[in-house]
Symmetry: C2
Subunit: 192 residues, 2 copies
């Protein structure tokens, strides 16, 4: 994991700003899980907060509510099949990390298993909002640690070049878009 470098927290929103599909990791009472979520995005800059929609019938939901924490991961184009696979089986039918042979490491702050090889990791503590959780399956997390693969994200920006792995954007039925070409228009100079 030598390419992983910390991302300063006020820039952590940049990891999700372009709308990538994520993986959600969770763990509690001796169980662990990982699922895919197309519905995740930043909610605030500093302290950074994120939103993620997690269906009430999932094991991930149960583990998140038991532990009060979760982690988001931005998988790469090389992990598209993995993203699809963890999104189409249930952790209730057996440990996905074992069944799918997913190499993992533990978060730097949060005790959840993270899939090796992702482009970015955001470790989050749940800001408890029972109404959102119960009515909309919507969770708010405060990002307490963020790291990214320095080959793809540096100086607060994603840099995807040529055939190097890119982030993913889920469509449906196993179809994805890769994050595409970067381009600029006239904008503010401060990078905001």
């Amino acid at each position: 994991m030598s390419h992983l470098l910390p991302v300063e927290l006020p820039k952590a929103y940049r990891l999700l700003n372009h709308g990538p599909t994520v993986l959600v990791s969770s763990a509690a009472h001796g169980q662990r899980n990982i699922m895919a979520a197309a519905w995740a995005m930043p909610l605030d800059f500093d302290p950074p907060k994120v939103l993620v929609v997690v269906d009430r019938n999932t094991l991930t939901r149960e583990l998140m509510e038991a532990s009060g924490v979760f982690a988001l991961q931005a998988p790469s184009t090389e992990q598209a099949q993995l993203t699809m696979d963890v999104g189409t089986c249930s952790g209730r039918d057996g440990d996905k990390f074992s069944q799918l042979a997913i190499a993992s490491h533990v978060g730097s702050v949060i005790d959840v298993p993270l899939a090796d090889g992702c482009l970015a990791y955001l470790e989050c503590r749940i800001i408890d909002e029972p109404h959102n959780q119960q009515r909309y399956d919507l969770f708010i997390g405060e990002v307490v640690a963020a790291r990214a693969d320095s080959r793809a994200f540096s100086q607060g920006r994603w840099h995807f070049e040529g055939d190097a792995p890119r982030s993913l954007h889920y469509v449906a039925g196993g179809s994805f878009f890769a994050t595409g070409e970067a381009f600029s228009v006239n904008g503010s100079a401060d990078g905001e």
Copy 2:
């Protein structure tokens, strides 16, 4: 606008599922406005709901709260400068549609001005959640009408090919990613 076709509401989430940056239109008491938002995503399938973060200091916020409605638009790569421009000036300093010469049409159900030439339009009624709005600048909308450019979205899927306009993913400081190449992995056959 002859290429615009209705999108059936249970498929409306597909317009935002891949995480594009959007424009937000609003109107109330004789004023109208349009702004950019990187933080918008689906919240539910059917009836379709969306989330969008709208800062409390914006005119858009004031108009949304006065009218109870808004519309999201998915701009194309050809509209990146427009997206940047409406995101960096305030409607409080004058009508953006006039100042930026934005051609527009009125929503099919909601009375807000929509920028011509976008790839998709989602017209929404606000589901009032005062706590989310006040604490997190977070709005929930129920999508009551959806349309898309049939050259880019048909049969419930985006189809971006070659040099045709694509949707946008905002980075920062005037930088964007275009939606990239489509690819598939082994997945569920039902398209879900």
